[in-house]
Symmetry: D2
Subunit: 351 residues, 4 copies
């Protein structure tokens, strides 16, 4: 019963098989492997973007910050949600990689950037005034950090504001596949057709061992990106092992199948949780993350049964009453089994 | 016949098996996996360093620059060989990670830092003069970038100069195992007993998929290192897959066995090359790298036979005469087979 | 009638005389001038801080960011008011100089950091969690950017929270003299006795040409500061001209006399403004800055009379009604004459 | 008898008078003063460069590093002489401001970059290879750090190599006026006509208090430069005091008159030194700097007579023999009087 994070789960067997196959014999280093050519071709096809450039890295933070540094100069600011991963979970890696750009934090329900707040922020700050940071980039996250999903139309509305102010758009897609299957949008609709310039296409949380793609829909700055990746120490020598993961992921729609499985597990888990006495859902459950208040007694029963998950945002104090509620986050992944959900809910109901 | 680099070769089957085993079920993220505890314990044991702190990353450049940034402030300089990897092959990643420290380049045969040149550089620059960069750190590389090996005593001589000037010592050990088996030094003798503070312990070039350890013999700055790793986007979420590789590597001396095999292949290859008409060895062959001048006709024959390797430092022009010689680098790895060496030499001899 | 900023005014005649006197003959460079010794001694005396180290720079931003970079590592955050100068008016210089630290923005009336908001921010963020930035430093501004003044006790309350979380305190004192005369606090009471570690002691806005002091009450990091100043290109070769300004400023209490004059002019101006029909004061006037809403007709009359000041935060649109009010900022300085105030108020009353 | 540096001397009386005049009344801040318009116009006229953009800062290092950061990205290298000021005297400020670019150091007599060495360096490093830093910029220094002067033709030869490799050219002109009067080249001939893109136009060493201009002959990156200056904390609020200095400097050829005086003093001093027994000139004396070996007894006599200058590169040990020679640097400035030279030579001859 592991619901602590989608990165606590295993890699998919097809990915492991692809790694084993890629391990045969010798290969060109640093991206000169034949699988990388296939990855590039497949992403261009899947995204209907024949000009796009594609690069692989091993962590989601690397994908985000290399993409942002390529979009935003050091004297500008990145508009992002207060709860964006780039703000709360990357230990100032965006500031490091951009050379000291700012993040301007915006509110919005369920960690989606409020459209009016974005408009006000862009309109309210004069560009071209040397004392201020300049407008830099907009960074959206889909699935959001609170489990909500932007539709392609919602992405497009926000991107349009950014473009009207002359700044590019980054999409943190650590859970991009989960957002696609939740909305039935095509990859193109959710990205470049909606105005996205650079996508962090997550794989690690959805069945890979450690591989993320950065997709530059405008290839003009691809060489700069390559230099930034190298200089950030993120260029793999035995690159074929990144390529093999990403190739297996995208082939035959595996990425969407895995995301669909994770989302379905979350739906099942959320329905069960919502029915528990004293439970309250804190955000809509649109992908594979659930945020809920549960009574302390329920938490105790779950922990006694061996469940893994995080309190959000504070742990119950020792003297908390049994009926006092505490928020927690539950994340499913491709490998979550119906039995895991059932066992979890049984333990919770027994409280 | 791949002799382009030790990173063109495959991962060892035991490593692949360890990855498959590590993929069972769920595990704590970001280093909270049980394998990482075992890695830490094993490195402390192998290095006879019970206080050492150990962190894993996926690239050798990451290991080097995170270690150096932890040792050297932005207003200081790192003493390194002119041909050090950190100077020639990391696209200014050390400058990026240190926040703009300098590298002071030193000469020396076979890419080993000349002892007198180091002494002169340290003595010749006043520390405490605000206009200059300050003394920062000494970075040594073993095996060197020209295939030579420092003995533990040679490391100690250079480290002693650094310590006399109050600066710490970093060892780039991308091919550390190859240096150990070449000298019969123990891990402790080659590192902390010789005055090394931080070791980049390579694995990728010697049978891993992508895993390097950074060993801090003085644990005082371990937390700073962790923050720098996170902020550099080098902290893996599914960290168990780094741990599993490193554990397999160190268990039962696999790392030394693999390095021994690579070194032996290089010796065999070098002996054959040295006997070729018109060949000239450019550096002593002490580990798994060979630098040699060969006539153009020999290069032509080798390429016709399908050999992979790099010219060093320039390609033959189209009109080069058959007897004109051109330098090349040949690197063996754990997977190099006697037949690979034989086939290569046969092709060369046929020229 | 210049009320646009205190930096629009001239340098004081005593300062000009001191510069002329300092221009006689030769002097040691880079701070080795005799006046600098006198500056250091005088600041130690005035602040009752015999151990303090003192450095001069030419801009307030340089003073702030060099001080902050010395206090706060790149992986930490600086707690500051949403309207702090370091956030709104320095084009991400703090991020540049710290190597990419964050600013965590806090609310509070009149640009004073709300005590509860500071407590919540410090308590709410776990220190020692590698994914977040760490607690870095607290930066206060006195006089605030909205013209209010912290008492020494209010500084101490906020500094105590910072110290309880183990972080140091920076005070942006671009208008420090104005704050002192407004509160009758001694320099020591307003700084180190209240828990301040590093002070940016402004001079430029209060009668100097271009000179600011950075006072490190704890001298432990003085050498690091010197290196950061040099490396930031802020070490003056003909340093005696900075020293001479600061010496004239501090001798015989000139700095306090000038600040007192500026504050009195502001009081007079504020009283007159408050009586105007349709006027509304937006913040308490405690030093030399006034923020007020005035009807458009009043603004028109003032501009017609040649008054200089900034709208705050937006310009009246062309079609604004005469009675519609628009905010503006008015800043007095040491050279403001009673006639300037009278002329201004007469023009405003005539509207 | 001060020959320690041209920055030990005073500001010229016309400069002091200009500052006093500029101190009348109020002025726009941050470069919006009327004098700055005049400075811009005058520099465009003097340099025959009607499109050039001009910015003022207070230190030569600021001028250099802001210019270089605008020309060279973080993943590239700046070609410079081993003894360039940007390498030896700026405490890694170029690395800081560029975000971690490298300096590639080149040899050459008298601190002039050897033409062949530059060609080899540019030809020898492959551009477009991701592991290396890329070609970034060429930085020349005129007058060089050893007192020699490039002719306009020599600048042009080196700039042509840079341009052939697609990189821009920076000229550190801390002593630019001295180089002009030494060669009789026009400002245009020595800069943009020779291929220079950005000039650091020194004033501080030649009669100003603290003011340097940065001239961007290509205005395309002027806005970026302004943002970098602000963010580097080098934008002066009371900017009129920088403008007034630079205006006085350029008006009526004052800058050239002052440089001519300094150069003539150096010639007179050098002639006298060359005739001393045991003396040896170390570099040609082409501007206002002299490097010479003198016997210890001569040094002793000079110091006894109160002369100020620096040993270059090491101090005589206590037991040095009277005839043993030690190198020293002697720098004249606009204020050097014939009597200073005579008194110095008399003291030396008396040894």
């Amino acid at each position: 019963m592991w619901f602590s994070s989608d990165n606590a789960g295993p890699a998919h067997p097809k990915v492991m098989a692809a790694l084993a196959a890629a391990n045969e014999g010798y290969a060109g280093s640093y991206g000169a492997d034949t699988q990388m050519q296939a990855v590039r071709g497949l992403i261009r096809e899947v995204f209907e973007a024949p000009e796009a450039e594609v690069f692989l890295v091993a962590t989601g933070t690397a994908a985000n910050v290399l993409g942002l540094a390529t979009l935003c100069p050091p004297w500008a600011t990145i508009y992002a949600h207060t709860h964006a991963h780039i703000e709360e979970d990357e230990c100032a890696a965006p500031e490091f990689y951009t050379g000291g750009a700012k993040l301007t934090l915006l509110p919005g329900a369920d960690a989606k950037i409020d459209l009016d707040a974005l408009r006000d922020a862009l309109d309210g700050t004069p560009d071209g005034f040397v004392h201020h940071v300049q407008h830099g980039a907009l960074s959206l996250t889909n699935v959001t950090e609170r489990g909500a999903v932007y539709t392609a139309g919602e992405i497009a509305e926000r991107a349009a504001l950014a473009r009207a102010h002359g700044i590019p758009v980054h999409l943190d897609g650590a859970r991009f596949a989960n957002a696609l299957v939740a909305t039935n949008a095509s990859p193109a609709e959710m990205t470049w057709r909606a105005g996205v310039d650079v996508l962090s296409l997550g794989g690690t949380k959805n069945g890979l061992m450690a591989a993320e793609a950065v997709v530059l829909f405008d290839p003009a700055r691809a060489w700069e990106f390559e230099l930034r990746r190298k200089r950030g120490a993120h260029l793999f020598s035995k690159h074929r092992f990144l390529s093999a993961q990403m190739l297996a992921y995208l082939q035959d729609g595996l990425w969407l199948d895995l995301a669909r499985a994770a989302n379905q597990s979350a739906t099942a888990l959320a329905e069960g949780l919502a029915d528990l006495p004293g439970a309250r859902m804190l955000h809509p459950v649109e992908a594979n993350m659930i945020f809920a208040d549960l009574p302390r007694r329920t938490h105790d029963a779950l922990h006694a049964a061996g469940a893994h998950y995080y309190f959000w945002t504070k742990d119950p104090p020792p003297d908390a009453l049994p009926d006092a509620t505490f928020a927690a986050r539950f994340v499913t992944n491709w490998a979550t089994e119906p039995e895991d959900v059932d066992a979890f809910l049984s333990a919770a109901r027994a409280a």
